[in-house]
């Protein structure tokens, strides 16, 4: 279904391949095509249900996901679609009832290796206030590596490096109390970075932030991908945040109902509607105009839409 739709869209906009290149060059490209390498995280036919007493509620059903080094992957879906459950399965927070999740080949169900898995896949959560463990920012960032038994001098280097990449080095000796939500989330990201994971998962980490905070986090994500070659998995219900992704998994009722590039997934109107999401305004307008009989191709961003419309003149 997915393929069909994107093809249909491709036919109408003849210069589509070129455009796609334009779009990706806007976001400086990462560490080359990821598909040459082996995936860092691989989930195959994963199913998980929550049980409390007699009650069983489904989390995810038969989901397969592959995350490659240096990829920015977005898991998109509304509340209750199973996206957070999926995220928690990817670093062994939860272990699947059926199917297998491997991180660099290690099965997350293997209890003896769970610490290895967690050190390779770090996770940042929704509420920035719940993730601070220390009263001084540098101690907060040091908490992870200290627990991993990293030597003191090495920890110092890691703190500097982690705070630098999130742009918070000048706050090192400060207290987390007076920071804005976006700043706190960046500290939470730094605390994960100090453990040097290969993948960082942000579980709705932008949901409680204001637009400025969200922008800060999105910029940080692109920096991690482009400068550190890290894989980033962002769980979100904002379609806007998914526009710059390399790959999107669209979740609905515990299943991944579509996956592919933002263009492929967003032009799949049926899947977007099923998932209960709202297309970015530019995409909606471009589809409306096409329905009104104008020769306008599918646009993801405001800029693309403006270009499409100007071409009508």
């Amino acid at each position: 279904m997915n393929e069909e739709k994107s093809d249909a869209c491709g036919k109408e906009t003849a210069p589509l391949p070129e455009k796609e290149n334009d779009f990706t060059t806007e976001l400086p490209s990462g560490t080359g095509t990821p598909s040459d390498n082996a995936p860092v995280i691989k989930a195959e036919g994963v199913t998980y249900s929550y049980r409390s007493g007699e009650q069983v509620s489904r989390g995810v059903t038969g989901v397969s996901v592959e995350i490659y080094p240096g990829e920015f992957v977005v898991i998109l879906g509304r509340n209750g679609s199973g996206k957070s459950t999926l995220a928690k399965l990817l670093n062994g927070f939860l272990v699947p009832d059926e199917g297998v999740v491997t991180v660099n080949g290690t099965d997350t169900a293997d209890d003896d290796k769970i610490f290895k898995v967690r050190s390779e896949v770090g996770m940042v959560f929704q509420n920035p206030d719940n993730q601070m463990v220390a009263s001084v920012i540098e101690s907060d960032v040091a908490f992870g590596p200290e627990n991993l038994g990293v030597p003191r001098e090495e920890i110092e280097t890691r703190i500097t490096e982690a705070l630098e990449i999130v742009g918070m080095e000048s706050y090192r000796k400060g207290s987390p109390n007076r920071l804005s939500g976006g700043q706190k989330q960046r500290i939470a990201i730094a605390a994960i970075l100090a453990m040097r994971p290969e993948v960082i998962i942000l579980d709705e980490s932008t949901a409680m932030l204001d637009p400025k905070g969200r922008r800060e986090i999105m910029e940080t994500i692109l920096k991690l991908k482009n400068e550190k070659g890290m894989a980033v998995v962002l769980i979100t219900h904002y379609m806007d945040e998914a526009i710059g992704a390399d790959k999107i998994y669209l979740m609905c009722d515990g299943e991944a109902i579509a996956s592919g590039s933002p263009r492929e997934v967003f032009s799949n109107e049926e899947a977007v509607r099923l998932a209960g999401l709202e297309l970015p305004v530019a995409a909606r307008v471009s589809l409306n105009l096409k329905k009104a009989g104008l020769d306008v191709g599918f646009a993801l961003t405001d800029e693309e839409l403006a270009e499409e419309i100007c071409a009508l003149k």
Partner: protein
């Protein structure tokens, strides 16, 4: 109910090293029937201003009149005021506390002197208003509800006292797109019948553009503008200096104007904008 704010000023921790001016010489009026948006970056004083409206913060300097009640007077009838001004804080689902949804929603009315039967009826009505089935949720723990349902239950708790002004501090933060739309449509429906005046604090300019008829902009505790959304988004000086975003519809119109395509329309939602563009090119 009309709210008049005159030369309002507020200082946190006055005469201490932590002294911070939160509001400075704010004057504006909220008319009966307005859906007023209050915007500004984090720390601009939006929440401090709103907390004045039901006297959670007492007036330090200046005057506020809500209907007939003068909040700057020595003695304020808090009970009447708080019954009339319903306030919903950020992430209100964190403020649910009772062991059943019914008790939670009845808490306000009972405190405002409703009888047990009246409170029961008010809870029933409020839950129906927000689209929750009374019989299904009444005896449930509020913590068994989904995120969107919890927020509705919290709104029902405010509505049960039948306020004539509803103050909402970022009512849609953290909700998914459908949840957002549901809450905003609920607010619109409430305005039609229940509460005449709504004040919304929001960071989401698309929401402000679509749902508010007026908007005030705060910056560092000062009133920067008191205008309509349409006017505001034409004032690039204000939008850019306060780090507000433009709604996408306005961004698209500006991009087109740069390229010499002028869309003569005040459309602030996707469908209206599409119609305006289609109209221009089909003519």
């Amino acid at each position: 109910m009309r709210i008049e704010v005159k030369e309002l000023g507020f200082v946190y921790s006055p005469k201490s090293p932590f002294e911070k001016v939160a509001l400075d010489d704010i004057t504006f009026t909220v008319n009966e029937g307005d859906t007023l948006g209050i915007v500004g970056s984090t720390g601009s004083g939006k929440s401090t201003l709103c907390r004045h409206f039901n006297a959670l913060i007492r007036v330090q300097r200046g005057e506020i009149t809500v209907g007939e009640i003068r909040l700057h007077a020595k003695k304020v009838d808090l009970k009447t005021l708080r019954k009339n001004v319903g306030m919903l804080f950020q992430f209100p689902e964190y403020q649910l506390f009772a062991d059943t949804v019914k008790k939670d929603v009845e808490f306000g009315p009972l405190n405002f002197g409703f009888s047990a039967e009246e409170a029961d009826a008010a809870a029933r009505e409020a839950l129906e208003l927000v689209g929750l089935d009374f019989d299904e949720v009444a005896s449930k723990s509020p913590f068994e509800l989904s995120g969107g349902q919890m927020r509705r239950a919290a709104i029902a708790g405010v509505l049960a006292s039948r306020p004539s002004v509803l103050v909402l501090d970022e009512p849609t933060a953290g909700l998914d797109p459908r949840g957002k739309r549901e809450i905003l449509e609920l607010v619109t429906a409430l305005k039609a019948g229940v509460t005449g005046t709504v004040i919304i604090i929001s960071h989401n300019m698309d929401e402000i553009a679509e749902f508010c008829n007026r908007v005030v902009v705060l910056e560092n505790g000062k009133l920067l503008a008191d205008t309509t959304p349409d006017e505001l988004f034409n004032r690039s000086d204000i939008v850019e200096r306060t780090e507000l975003d433009y709604p996408h519809t306005v961004k698209i119109k500006r991009l087109l104007a740069e390229k010499g395509v002028f869309i003569d329309s005040s459309a602030l939602n996707a469908d209206e904008l599409s119609a305006a563009i289609a109209g221009r090119f089909k003519a």
